[in-house]
């Protein structure tokens, strides 16, 4: 036996290694369980190095821009970006709530509801191997991150946590092959399963040919997958065509249009509402009631002039109206923008000037 092994030493080593790994693979495939020890060791070895690299890159970039170019402006810019992101997310939740009911009622509902508990994380690396569409983030199970949690940004869903290690977690992007999310379209309420293709676009399966769907329509999470809370923006339809087993739908994920640096892990998800079709996602909170119908101007209650304004909003509206009139600019129409920093001319209108109804159908373009 010894002579046999000695004679075929190389072949024996090869067989031993291959068979060992095949058994390892078979164990994982049959039991659907991972071998966490090897992964934990490797990630524990690689994560500090990746974090160090990221720190060095950030420090080097920050040094040059902070001290030589912009000094404090960059720090302020980062803070403002973070603040804008938080406000966008809050704005989206508010818009979904406010669109569903009267303003006061929706506000009460929103106050009563506990928002999703999230954890801000930073991307420290990409998954090994070409085309894996996974990223490592700098928070792990010691911070409460668990496998299966959703990863989102204010722009939309990013993916889900596929592995949580003590110091880092692996997030599979929604564009990864076989990544899925349950979605519903905003306008026609068509349900489907968003599936990653390994490229920049995703497909939506299980959409029948008879279902009405148009390019440009937004998809939101439906919450049926128990991963992503309902009401988060997913992306816009870029292509729809009829196929054999159903419609072929391509969606561009709104959160992955640019490189992801930070994201939020949803620790405790709360389902939201999907905004109505006329409302742009994540923006366009309408605090005013809908405009009166055409020809009903006579019945519109008179807005007070600046002298007799009832509220601050009335005074502000009157100020803007006088400014735009003085500069010959029409509000709500694309083109020249009025200079609102000037002082308006004193009001010469009668105290009971009739209010003009807002232009119908003017909404901000959809922005993820």
């Amino acid at each position: 036996m010894d002579s046999f092994l000695g004679r075929y030493r190389n072949l024996s080593v090869l067989l031993l290694l291959v068979v060992g790994q095949l058994l390892l693979l078979a164990y994982q495939v049959r039991s659907s369980q991972d071998v966490p020890l090897i992964r934990v060791w490797t990630v524990a070895a690689a994560a500090p190095l990746a974090r160090g690299l990221e720190w060095a890159r950030t420090a080097a970039a920050g040094f040059f821009s902070d001290y030589f170019v912009l000094r404090d402006v960059r720090a302020e810019n980062e803070r403002l970006k973070k603040e804008i992101g938080e406000l966008r997310l809050r704005n989206h939740l508010l818009s979904a709530e406010l669109a569903s009911a009267e303003r006061a009622k929706a506000l009460e509902q929103y106050r009563a509801r506990i928002p999703s508990k999230t954890l801000a994380v930073r991307v420290i690396g990409a998954g090994a191997g070409p085309d894996t569409k996974t990223v490592f983030v700098d928070r792990g199970s010691s911070d409460g991150v668990q496998r299966g949690m959703a990863a989102i940004t204010p722009e939309g869903i990013v993916g889900k946590v596929v592995a949580a290690y003590p110091m880092a977690s692996l997030v599979q992007l929604i564009t990864a092959r076989n990544a899925v999310a349950s979605v519903v379209s905003q306008k026609s309420r068509v349900h489907g399963a968003l599936e990653g293709t390994g490229a920049s676009l995703c497909t939506v399966d299980h959409v029948e040919n008879k279902d009405p769907l148009e390019p440009g329509e937004w998809f939101y999470t439906s919450g049926n997958d128990r991963v992503f809370p309902r009401g988060l923006p997913v992306g816009q339809v870029t292509l729809v065509r009829e196929g054999r087993g159903g419609k072929e739908v391509l969606v561009e994920p709104s959160a992955l249009k640019s490189r992801i640096e930070e994201m939020l892990i949803v620790l405790d998800g709360v389902h939201g509402l999907i905004p109505p079709p006329e409302q742009a996602p994540a923006e366009g909170v309408s605090l005013l009631p809908p405009p009166p119908p055409e020809g009903a101007e006579a019945e519109v209650p008179a807005a007070p002039a600046s002298g007799g304004a009832l509220t601050d909003a009335d005074r502000l509206a009157d100020r803007y109206r006088r400014l735009t009139e003085a500069q010959g600019v029409q509000l709500g129409v694309k083109g020249r923008i009025a200079d609102f920093t000037r002082n308006p001319a004193p009001s010469t209108d009668a105290p009971a000037r009739k209010a003009e109804p807002p232009k119908a159908g003017k909404t901000e373009p959809p922005r993820p």
Binding site: Q21, V35, R39, W41, V43, L49, P130, T132
Partner: protein, 177 residues
Amino acid sequence: MSRFEESLAADLAARGKAAHFPAAVYVLAPLAAILFQVYVPRFLEALSYLELPLLTAIYFALMRRKPASGAFIGCVVGLAQDALSPHPLGMNGISKTLSCYFAASLSLRFDVENTLLRFLLGFFFYLFHQFFFWSLSRGLLGEQSDFPIPQTVISAFLNAVIAAALFSFLDRFRRDD
């Protein structure tokens, strides 16, 4: 391996062809390659197609000229790569084990110092690795994905170019017997 191969290996080693490296190089070079694959594609996604861990493992297998050592290096590098990826452990491990074993076996028959041969070996072993990985995905995991031939050939060419340069760079650390 047959007696002929063993005698040939011994002959080559006796002639001072087998190379050795400081222990730190065996650890740091694959680690740097894996870190490169983990970190750099974040900023340049096109570089995710560079299989530096494979090229590094192939280099050590070629230079060591010992199929058993080559297989072991390929196994360790592949498992480490698997651990940092969403794939089951062993997918890269088996592919790299076989690639490095065959690379080391070939090094007994050819002069692997030649740059053109290194380019060809890099091209061939990248294709072999990708095809074997795809076969394992289909056969063992049941993944229904096509093998992207044009894309893989282009990637193989780019990896071969990098391999020729990388091998020359790593030659600086070798200590010939």
